[in-house]
Symmetry: C2
Subunit: 287 residues, 2 copies
């Protein structure tokens, strides 16, 4: 397989993640090609200098690609994986940027033998979405998870690592897609649902009081931030990781119920212990 610097990289989907990736890669590989559903998005990517060439024609867009990156919502990634195989050149690396991996990797295993599949999940994002929010520095310093299949050649995994490093990210190989989905259910999808429920609660209980808007403190702002994430993206993520998310929700609810019980009973000693434990763990996680 070719090094990144000599590769043509085709990015399918020019939302926040895809267009930021394009901007981060441009000039560092032979050619960056963008594929979008709408001509306006392609034109915008060109005029923002994010891609060398663009098209709304999938077949045409991938015909010379050494690397194809799927950066659409997860269920569209799955559809593309099912369809794209015959269109891909010999030995092309097919990688995706989806936030859940088990279903995607399962579908990748059925790709034709001439394709090298590799699951991917860069751990970054923003509240803003779409090409207008494109940021070539988005991946810098962030963990880029790579999930190889049993059939993925070691050289293909190496190219995946090189791709991550080229955009400033830190590659992390996880062999087990289910383990990936378990971890992100708690560390990423659960925080999103909590933030949504928090916003719903604030809306239901305080929205009729104008003072509420003036006293929304920094704590609420931070805790609710991810509730502003793109709904199409999050819906697909949730619906392709239901089991793990329900497990995380159950574990979470039991902790929250226990805290509620300590508050209700004014059990100061145990409450203090629980809050201290949470504080210490948070400080260990983010020293």
């Amino acid at each position: 397989m070719k090094p990144i610097s000599e590769s043509t990289v085709t990015i399918i989907g020019l939302g926040l993640m895809g267009s930021s990736l394009a901007g981060a890669l441009r000039g560092k590989c032979r050619k960056v090609v963008g594929v979008a559903r709408r001509k306006e998005t392609v034109n915008q990517a060109v005029s923002q200098g994010l891609i060398d060439a663009g098209t709304i024609d999938l077949e045409f867009g991938v015909q010379d690609a050494d690397i194809v990156v799927l950066s659409t919502p997860v269920r569209t990634i799955i559809e593309l994986v099912r369809e794209i195989g015959p269109l891909l050149p010999e030995s092309a690396l097919l990688i995706d940027l989806g936030s859940t991996k088990e279903e995607i990797v399962e579908n990748m295993s059925a790709l034709p033998a001439h394709v090298q599949p590799l699951g991917g999940h860069p751990m970054c994002g923003k509240e803003l979405s779409g090409i207008a929010a494109a940021d070539p520095t988005l991946y810098r310093g962030k963990t880029f998870i790579l999930v190889p299949l049993p059939r993925t050649a070691p050289e293909a995994l190496d190219v995946g690592r090189e791709l991550a490093r080229t955009i400033g990210a830190v590659p992390l190989v996880l062999d087990d897609a289910r383990r990936h989905d378990f971890l992100v259910a708690t560390l990423s999808h659960l925080p999103y649902l909590l933030a949504c429920a928090l916003v719903q609660t604030a809306d239901a209980t305080t929205s009729e009081d104008p003072a509420a808007w003036e006293i929304v403190a920094s704590g609420f702002r931070d805790t609710s931030r991810v509730a502003a994430s793109a709904v199409d993206m999050m819906t697909d993520i949730i619906l392709t990781n239901r089991e793990e998310i329900l497990g995380a929700l159950q574990e979470y609810s039991s902790h929250l119920s226990e805290l509620g019980r300590l508050v209700k009973n004014a059990n100061e000693q145990e409450l203090r212990q629980a809050l201290s434990y949470a504080r210490e763990k948070r400080m260990e996680m983010f020293p």
Copy 2:
């Protein structure tokens, strides 16, 4: 009552809030006096240039004060309110910085007649605590809630407003301490408990997997941030606002259960609606 510029302000408690207030006021009033339990804290406040004078002797510290600010954890504020009355000079303004108001204001109503009481709650903070984290800009641009009692003279409330403006904060008068506690239960105390339960969940389900630490994304960081708050402060807040917090927890749990139900049933249309509603509300709250 004197204007702030001619007032001696005594701050009792030199933690994050008190020492930051001292630093913000110094040079803008006649004299800033600090009272702390430990001599080392007093010395540190002097050497950091936060106060003009300091003491561990409460009686001595307040004897010439025009304004006395209580900036300790809430239950210590309540004890101080019960004891400090006879020590205070004629017409002194006594204000507190506690995050719950009903119990404090109730106790303030029993102060001797020569004192002017005023409940206060500046809506700011940091994960860091203690005088080492002192930041004279902490209050800038933040809402500073003032809760006057029926006995509070209009001039005393005016001095409270002037105090808030002097440190760059925006005063907001709320006459009803219970309404204050209801609003902050949802907007401040609930986010704290959610963050604690989230950290407990992450710790319980992923801590044995070293990959978890590398994939903690920005969403988890933000959502869990307030779990690092000072435990002494938060324990007092929770134990003096139990009823409202339990109400907020109940409302929250019902929203989260409903989201869980939609995930479980893979009810895409309703899930999408709920997530879209949360996103819109979050964007309204923080445009």
